[in-house]
């Protein structure tokens, strides 16, 4: 503590007598409505700026669209990305197996076709031309 502290700590409270004397500087001393008028004057002068701020704070159609866009665009992007990944994975699983041309020519012909034809031929009565004449 310095040498002033002893003197100063005595005066931590409000000096009411000095306060009373200083009241001569309070404009409300002789006019109780002074501060009400002060406040009204300030609010009157600030009305235009306050109104501008209210307008700025009100959401316009553009703001609404933008706020929607802010939510919708990232969601759509994420969804598209997920769908893309899923499609790529799906198509990778069902990818066509490479088949040769010869294999393709016989791929849907049943193996019994030729024996069946032979059987049918066997069933027919074969008549030679030489026998007719």
């Amino acid at each position: 503590m310095n040498r002033y502290d002893d003197e100063i700590t005595d005066e931590l409270g409000r000096d009411m007598e000095l306060a009373e004397a200083l009241c001569v500087f309070d404009p409300a001393q002789g006019d109780p409505n002074y501060w009400l008028r002060f406040r009204s004057w300030v609010l009157g002068a600030a009305a235009k700026e306050l109104s501008r701020r209210r307008l700025m704070a009100q959401p316009t159609v553009g703001d609404v669209v933008l706020s929607w866009a802010r939510a919708v665009v990232p969601t759509a992007l994420v969804t598209a990305l997920l769908a893309g990944v899923l499609l790529i994975r799906e198509s990778a699983l069902n990818a066509p197996i490479p088949v040769g041309v010869e294999e393709l020519l016989v791929s849907e012909i049943e193996g019994e076709t030729i024996p069946m034809m032979l059987e049918a031929e066997e069933a027919l009565v074969v008549t030679f031309a030489s026998e007719i004449f």
Partner: protein, 188 residues
């Protein structure tokens, strides 16, 4: 009760009630600070009112809305200094208009006038910081901590300034006939 921060955030959106509450909360300290710089009622009133309008215009620049009071007092001091520079040669009536609306007795007028004259002389002999501190503390009832926070000073410095300012003012008041007896100081 809403904090300064809440009121500032609402005022930024144009809430008239919030801005009105801020004006109501700080109009007296703003006037006291302006008076401590200008020393004249009309200039103090102009500076304090202008400061509120400037504060509203620059509300986005108030980086710590909870410390609005300190920020506003800086604006008040700057506006007051500008006003003093601008109107250095202007002659003004130092009596608040409201004080004239009363019809006081001639004795009362003489007493008040003498007291005001002596106090004003004593006040203006103080450094600006001491004037601000004594007006904020003894006229507006701000606590040391509040003054320290809002004027951005250490609490010990506030107490020290207050001590010296009071000593000067008491000496001046002892010259006023019928003034309170400061030898029996009442500290409440």
């Amino acid at each position: 009760m809403l904090t300064d921060g809440d009121l500032v955030r609402r005022a930024r959106r144009g809430d008239e009630h919030a801005f009105g509450a801020l004006v109501e909360r700080y109009q007296r300290p703003a006037y006291a600070v302006a008076l401590s710089v200008t020393g004249r009622h009309e200039d103090a009133e102009d500076a304090a009112q202008e400061a509120f309008l400037v504060a509203l215009d620059r509300l986005e620049e108030c980086r710590s809305p909870d410390r609005f009071g300190g920020w506003l007092m800086t604006i008040v001091r700057n506006r007051s200094k500008n006003l003093v520079r601008r109107e250095a040669l202007r002659e003004t009536d130092e009596v608040p208009p409201g004080a004239r609306s009363r019809i006081p007795t001639p004795d009362r007028v003489a007493e008040t006038s003498e007291l005001r004259g002596l106090l004003k002389e004593a006040l203006m002999s103080l450094p600006e910081m001491q004037r601000q501190i004594v007006l904020l503390h003894d006229l507006e009832g701000w606590k040391h901590r509040e003054i320290a926070d809002r004027l951005d000073l250490p609490c010990g410095t506030v107490r020290s300034h207050l001590h010296f300012a009071r000593r000067v003012l008491r000496t001046a008041l002892q010259q006023v006939p019928g003034a309170p007896d400061f030898s029996m100081r009442a500290v409440r």
